[in-house]
Amino acid sequence: MEKNLTHIALFAALIAVLGLVPKIELLSGVPITAQSMGVMLCGTVLGARRGALAVLLFLVLVAVGLPLLAGGRGGLGVFASPSVGFLIGFPVAAFVAGFIVERWTAPVGIAAFAGAVLGGIVVLYAFGIPGMAFMLDKSLAEATALSTPFFPGDLIKAGLTALVTRAIAQMRPGALLSRG
């Protein structure tokens, strides 16, 4: 019980930290914010239920007025902005990612990548794009077009999530709560 509590709380803190550190520069010097990697990691490392709870806890703290989103954003204003769909989708994305890692018996790296792509990209955008379409009075197709520049970066993030999850499985197998 305490283990669940501390893992959920500390991974919520991890998502915040990944938003507060300077943008990570990738291979070609393209900067990405690591925060959505934190969301994917919550799912793939902690599992579906705990991962979703960690992300929910993070969102509660953002709503309460802490500047924990990348760029020092926070408060209730971010839930009134066009990216609110993505925020609502974060816990669901973590849940789906964790669900796939827990249930699919493939090697951890492959399951984590599948989880990060299906959860952190497909499901997340399934929430984010309608949210943006609604807030900006655009059609779904138009909102999707506005979001496409971010897909490659998100694919890379999914790959990195898989690498980190697989490394954790190798170095601390007992700590990977999604695979017991």
């Binding site: 509590l5 959920i8 990691l41 204003g77 009134a80 954790i168």
Partner: protein
């Protein structure tokens, strides 16, 4: 760690948090029900007036918090100019700005402790599955550990810089995550030693 509450004390700081939140919900519903640009402009005056009544530095901070919206504003402006639908574009932008200003007004005039008390009150129906003490502890743990983990991430980045001419990149993600896992185990032990979290 600093919250987004404004240190400048205003009249709105004395209002109860639940009242402000209810008013915010009602206002946001109203905003999304309006269609005409004129009505939207009138409705947008409300948060503007509230913010203006709180003084200059408060207003400047409020405006600064709008900065992350600039990509959306730019997209909408260009889109609607290209389509020749400036009325529609004005409605979208005014609604976005009014909603965010109003929401930020509530955030800036409510203390963190008040918001947390409200969250705990709202979570009372969940008491069978989620004990209020566990929720309070979880919130306190996150707030306490963010600066700790930030400092450790910076230490990991410095360790990288001491060993590599390249800038720290994604590779510090693994030690950061492992440190979070190890910390979680240790804090769980400490909690159990102090009587548990239930």
């Amino acid at each position: 760690m600093l919250t987004l509450t404004s240190p400048v004390k205003t009249w709105a700081h004395r209002l109860p948090a639940w009242g402000k939140l209810l008013a915010l919900c009602a206002y946001t519903v109203l905003l999304f029900a309006l269609q005409a640009p004129l009505a939207m402009a009138v409705a947008a005056l409300l948060p503007a007036a509230l913010i203006a009544s709180c003084g200059g530095s408060f207003a400047i901070t409020s405006l600064r918090m709008l900065r992350p919206l600039w990509p959306f504003v730019a997209v909408v402006v260009l889109w609607h100019l290209w389509l020749g639908d400036s009325a529609g574009g004005a409605v979208v932008i005014l609604r976005m700005l009014a909603a965010v200003l109003a929401a930020n007004f509530v955030t800036m005039t409510t203390q963190l402790s008040q918001m947390i008390a409200l969250i705990e009150w709202l979570a009372r129906p969940l008491a069978p599955i989620l004990s209020p003490r566990a929720l309070a502890l979880a919130i306190a743990l996150v707030i306490r550990f963010i600066p700790v983990m930030l400092a450790r991430t910076e230490a990991i980045a410095q360790a990288w810089r001491a060993r590599s001419p390249r800038k720290p990149g994604w590779r510090i993600l693994l030690p950061t995550t492992l440190a979070a896992l190890d910390d979680a185990d240790r804090v769980a032990e400490a909690l159990r030693a102090r009587g548990g979290a239930g």
